[in-house]
């Protein structure tokens, strides 16, 4: 059973309090009508199943009800980080040892992810 740090509650809690919601960072196409059936099918149904680092969407279902992301190693089950919606992961397949926190923070500021913009979708 996982031990998950909720980035909103800022506490570790038991997995029983959370629901997994599948792969993270699946952005809904802004103009669905412009998608071919195949593109729409990819968005709806096709997900990665990597061996190693994977980003997942979870919700603190019986806690604060907030959705957030987890970077998890699917081999060791180690949770490398949890981060709020709209934030970028430090640990990625390209950077399994983690990028410096300052780099990630700088990227966030540059992208303006701190402000929620209309129509911008936090998952993107």
């Amino acid at each position: 059973m996982f031990h998950i740090y909720c980035p909103y509650c800022e506490e570790h809690r038991e997995e029983e309090e959370f629901h997994p919601k599948g792969q993270a960072h699946i952005a809904r196409p802004e103009d669905p009508e412009a998608c071919s059936d195949e593109q729409w099918g990819d968005y709806l149904f096709f997900r990665d199943n990597p061996r190693g680092i994977h980003h997942e969407l979870w919700v603190h279902a019986v806690g604060c009800r907030k959705f957030f992301n987890i970077t998890r190693n699917t081999v060791s089950y180690e949770i490398l980080e949890t981060y709020k919606m709209g934030e970028a992961p430090r640990f990625t397949a390209e950077h399994p040892e983690g990028r410096p926190a300052e780099t990630v923070a700088a990227e966030r500021t540059a992208a303006g992810a701190d402000k929620v913009e209309r129509q911008q979708g936090a998952k993107a």
Binding site: M1, F2, H3, E14, E15, H19, K21, R28, D31, P32, E33, C35, D37, W40, G41, Y43, L44, F45, L57, V59, A61, R65, K66, F67, V75, S76, Y77, E78, I79, M85, G86, V116, E117, R118, Q119, Q120, G121, A122, K123
Partner: protein, 1024 residues
């Protein structure tokens, strides 16, 4: 019942048992005596009981082999009464208590004379691995018949057939360091961490903590080692930051340092937990520990050697012999032959001779061993035969001799003439396998160490191993390792601890061990006497050799083909030997062959401990509406809807029908439902609809959000109006439905299905938080805050008018309006929503006023024939109107268009709402999709079965093409006919066609495809 009061194998002194405290127990119907401190196994050996079981496949007589969790043979069924039955208990782990009753798990009619053993003897050669599959495969239809007899012949223990009188519980624990195992390394680690002030849990599976210190020949601080252990345990027991858990097995290592510890709290006291101050304590407890760091000090299991007839009672592992002598004061025989590959095994011979019995010879596979223990044995005058091994045991029900010969280990052959030594006990030691099970549970693959001749654990972050568990076998080295690893573990937590001074241990020189697993025999393995590898599953060296010859090369396949390492044993004694034999046969090294994966649980865990208190009335929460008590008092039958208890129907006591009947009879369900249905259609009924999900939605963007999440339009819904809405997933399939009302410009109340409430709430949050965080809207569940009662039927308006200040005029308060006001003097919201097709008012009232309003309605309702109805009547009435139930008439593959509900789809809404794009996918545009239709059985008496398959041509050859199935089906008292809703391929264009429903009983029903609306197609009745 026979009785045996002598304990011929009990020593007069020594051991950790209390000779002044005698306990009597019963094994296979004979009464014996033992002492406090005994295990069932030590007491049986003390009484000279050789045969404790029959083997699984060949029914060979089996005796006790080991002294701990690794015991493969001595599985017993405990319990003197039916309710107290416990299957497959290892006698080596069961403490003796007064009156203990046990019997062998296998053996018919008894273990001494077993009928199945005849098959074992005659058929032994003809029962290779895969025997059952190969023999009983054809004809396949007969397998079920064969299986019954095979199972009777094999059989493990049985479950109790009566309710368990005991209870069990769970405890959630946290600690900085969890130390598993309280032997030398574990005690040192625990002490080091404890003195640093860290929160420590120290658990150990045995009756007493101390591990190998309890039977060690070595001195610590110039005293017997157990004295040191006692001092440490005493100190730990007095520290507040330490939890000591004896009799506690760490049975599973789960994710993120979550470890389940199974504490057996009363198993040593009796077969059920004894009362304490009139209260029965929990029999066992599952500690669910979330540890900061974990230190595995689980020790090592000694490997037996694999030689001919090594399963005959009297063959033991060397360490077990030492344990029985030194810890329990029991010598399990008179004359010992020891076959060893290492110095450590010599302890058994020294302990044996110390106990005053004869050591016939030590047979050492090495040439010229020269360790200190070897020298001690020589000095005691024990005959040592070097460069040799026991080739096979003699005897059937007890060892009578050992055939011994020189062997060439490297060439795997016998190198000299065999001699037979008369003896009644053969102890063997083939080296030590670290107990890596828990480390394996984390998924980390162990690695082979050529010097240690064993697999050592690979460790994930936060897990440490110390002492024998990682192959550090010496006493002094193990103690030092324990304190060092505890310091490492605490450092990983950012805590510091001081290494503590080691007790004084005499240095001891050990000569190198030799790698021997299977002992060669003059005959090839396939024709030699059976050489058992896995005693519990009757897997022999020959079976493994045969498996490799038949092409099984992966050790995981060999395991499954031969069953090696199966069962409650999980390969504790035999796995390494089996891998070594597979490696030899395949011409590979052991690391090349690799190891199988160990999984939880380490030893079997009783279901009671797994369930804890989550059983019986506490298995699942029950939810009651505010009106529940009224329903109970009025005789309702209840139906579970999710966790809710909803009234199903209200059977009434019928007036006396026969003059001789003294009491009226209760209505049947069909009668009650028919009466309730007609009451609603003709007068007025009332339903407790409180369980419907209710979500309060507020914010300037609430209306925009509804437009995106529902398929239909919300832009123009005025304050005071309600609208039915469909909710799809983005694949276009219906997920939930309900009405949403506009309470104020920025304030809406959404209702959901009873079962879908939590899921819809999470769905709304998902879209808001991850896709549209820019929308200013909030969601609050108010399901429990409001009670809902539906007053419906032609007389509803007249009834409600008597007790409300709301203007009920048909034009002032129209269909799909809602109004605020008072009913029975209580503030309410009333919604003109109808799920019955009749005039209906849904009254929402603060839950704690609900009973008052409900009762007031009944005070005024008698004259109108007010009738309470339940979910069954609700279903009949809604189905007569073609109203769907999401999840019953839909199953995640049905679009609003399949339901014929295009009227609830806002095709031209500007925002690409959830589910819209999918409605134009090629698959959703197919004309032969299953579509919702009504079915009218040709025979009105027929009520079609829900789930029944629909075909177009009943005379079609089997398999018939199936074109759909029935989703809802009831008897309608209004239509005086059965009727159904169904999904049928292309159904919307098949109106008037006849379809057929072939049933399992051979009958075929015919039905006509009709509109889904059976009653009042124009909706005039609800709009009055």
């Amino acid at each position: 019942m026979s009785q045996s009061l002598k304990q011929p194998n009990r020593l007069h002194e020594g051991g950790r048992i209390d000779r002044s405290h005698t306990l009597s127990f019963t094994f296979n119907g004979t009464r014996y005596q033992g002492h406090a401190g005994d295990t069932l196994a030590s007491a049986l050996l003390s009484n000279g009981v050789d045969i404790v079981n029959r083997s699984f496949k060949y029914s060979r007589p089996r005796g006790i082999v080991a002294a701990g969790a690794e015991e493969p043979n001595a599985l017993v069924q405990l319990g003197s009464s039916e309710a107290a039955q416990v299957p497959n208990v290892r006698a080596t782990q069961q403490a003796l208590f007064e009156g203990l009753t046990a019997q062998s798990t296998n053996g018919w009619p008894n273990v001494q004379r077993d009928a199945m053993s005849l098959i074992g003897k005659l058929g032994g050669r003809f029962m290779p691995p895969g025997f059952y599959y190969k023999t009983f495969m054809a004809p396949a239809s007969m397998w079920m018949t064969y299986e019954k007899y095979i199972r009777k012949g094999a059989g493990l223990g049985r479950s109790p057939m009566e309710r368990d009188p005991d209870h069990y519980d769970h405890l959630h624990q946290h600690c900085d360091l969890l130390v598993i195992g309280a032997g030398p390394a574990g005690l040192m680690a625990g002490l080091t961490a404890a003195r640093s002030g860290a929160r420590v849990i120290l658990c150990d599976e045995q009756e007493e903590m101390g591990g190998s210190l309890l039977d060690s020949r070595e001195l610590l601080d110039h005293q017997p080692a157990y004295r040191w252990a006692e001092r440490v345990i005493d100190e730990l027991g007095r520290l507040d930051n330490v939890t000591l858990l004896p009799r506690t097995t760490a049975n599973g290592y789960h994710d993120h340092h979550f470890v389940t510890l199974h504490e057996r709290r009363t198993e040593h006291l009796g077969e059920t937990a004894p009362l304490v101050d009139g209260v029965r304590p929990a029999r066992s407890r599952m500690h669910r520990v979330r540890a900061g760091q974990v230190l595995l000090a689980t020790g090592a299991h000694e490997r037996p050697l694999v030689y001919g007839n090594n399963d005959v009672p009297g063959n033991l592992i060397a360490g077990a012999v030492s344990t029985y002598i030194r810890r329990y004061g029991v010598v399990p025989g008179e004359k010992l032959v020891l076959s060893t590959t290492n110095d450590h095994g010599y302890r058994a011979a020294l302990d044996w001779i110390d106990a005053g019995r004869e050591v016939v010879a030590i047979v050492d596979a090495r040439r010229n061993p020269d360790g200190d223990l070897v020298a001690e044995a020589r000095a005691r005058g024990i005959r040592i035969i070097d460069g040799a091994a026991v080739l096979e045991a003699r005897g059937e029900k007890r060892v009578s001799g050992a055939r011994v010969a020189a062997i060439d280990v490297a060439a795997f052959k016998v190198a000299g003439q065999a001699e037979t030594l008369a003896c009644d006990t053969i102890a063997s030691s083939g080296g030590y396998s670290p107990v890596i099970h828990l480390a394996s549970h984390t998924g980390a693959r162990p690695s082979w160490d050529d010097e240690l001749l064993g697999f050592v654990p690979s460790l994930v972050k936060g897990v440490h191993a110390a002492g024998s568990a990682r192959g550090v076998h010496g006493l002094a080295e193990g103690l030092a390792d324990g304190t060092a690893k505890a310091c490492e573990a605490l450092a990983a937590l950012g805590k510091s601890a001081d290494a503590i001074a080691l007790p004084q241990v005499d240095a001891r020189y050990e000569s190198t061990a030799c790698a021997l697993y299977q002992v060669p025999h003059e005959k090839p393995t396939l024709r030699a006497p059976k050489q058992f590898v896995d005693l519990q599953n009757d897997v022999t060296a020959a079976a493994i050799e045969l498996a490799t010859r038949e092409g099984f090369e992966s050790i995981e396949h060999v395991k499954r083909y031969t069953a090696m390492g199966f069962g409650t044993d999980q390969g504790k004694l035999g796995n390494i030997n089996g891998m070594a034999i597979a490696a030899r046969c395949l011409g590979k090294s052991i690391p090349e062959v690799g190891t199988t994966v160990f999984r939880p649980n380490y030893t079997p865990v009783t279901f009671g401990a797994i369930a804890g208190r989550h059983c019986r009335e506490l298995f699942e929460p029950k939810r009651y509406t505010a009106l529940h008590q009224w329903h109970v008092e009025h005789g309702a039958e209840f139906e579970d809807v999710g966790q809710w208890k909803r009234p199903w129907y209200f059977p009434q006591v019928r007036p006396q029908v026969r003059p001789d009947a003294t009491n009226g009879e209760r209505e049947s369900m069909a009668e009650a439902v028919a009466r309730e249905c007609l009451a609603v259609r003709e007068k007025v009924g009332i339903l407790d609809a409180s369980t419907l999900g209710k979500i309060d939605i507020q914010g300037p963007d609430a209306r925009e959000f509804l437009g995106r999440i529902y398929t239909n339009k919300w832009a123009k819904l005025a304050v005071g109006r309600a609208r039915y809405g469909l909710m799809c997933k983005d694949d276009g399939m219906l997920m939930d439905d309900g009405t949403t009302s506009c309470l104020a410009e920025n304030h809406f109340l959404m209702t959901t299905t009873t079962g879908g409430a939590a899921g819809v709430m999470e769905w709304l949050e998902l879209w808001h938080q991850t896709e549209w965080p820019e929308l200013d809207v909030t969601f609050t569940s108010v399901t429990d805050h409001w009670a809902t009662m539906t007053v419906t039927g032609p007389e509803a308006r007249k009834l409600l008018a008597e007790i409300t200040d709301i203007d009920l005029d048909r034009d002032a308060f129209q269909f799909m309006d809602w109004r605020q006001g008072k009913v029975a003097g209580v503030p309410v919201r009333v919604f003109r929503i109808s799920f019955t097709g009749e005039l209906a008012y849904e009254i929402n009232v603060q839950a704690n006023y609900a009973m008052h309003v409900w009762k007031t309605l009944f005070e005024h309702g008698d004259k109108y024939g007010l009738t309470p109805y339940g979910t069954e009547t609700m279903h009949v009435l809604r189905a007569e109107k073609g109203f769907i139930i999401a999840g019953q008439d839909t199953d995640g593959s049905v679009t609003p268009e399949d339901l014929g509900m295009q009227w609830a789809v806002g095709y031209d809404k500007p925002f690409p709402w959830v589910g819209k794009r999918a409605l134009s996918r090629s698959d959703t545009r197919r004309v032969d999709r299953k579509q919702l239709v009504g079915l009218k059985p040709k025979d009105p008496k027929v009520v079609l079965k829900e789930g029944a398959q629909i075909v177009l041509d009943p005379d079609h050859a089997i398999p018939m093409p199936m074109v759909g199935h029935v989703t809802s089906s009831y008897y309608s008292p209004t239509l005086e006919s059965g009727f159904a809703l169904a999904v049928v391929k292309g159904g919307h264009s098949r109106m008037g066609e006849t379809v057929y429903l072939p049933m399992a009983d051979g009958k075929t029903h015919a039905a006509e495809i009709v509109s889904t609306i059976f009653v009042d197609p124009k909706g005039a009745r609800q709009n009055v």
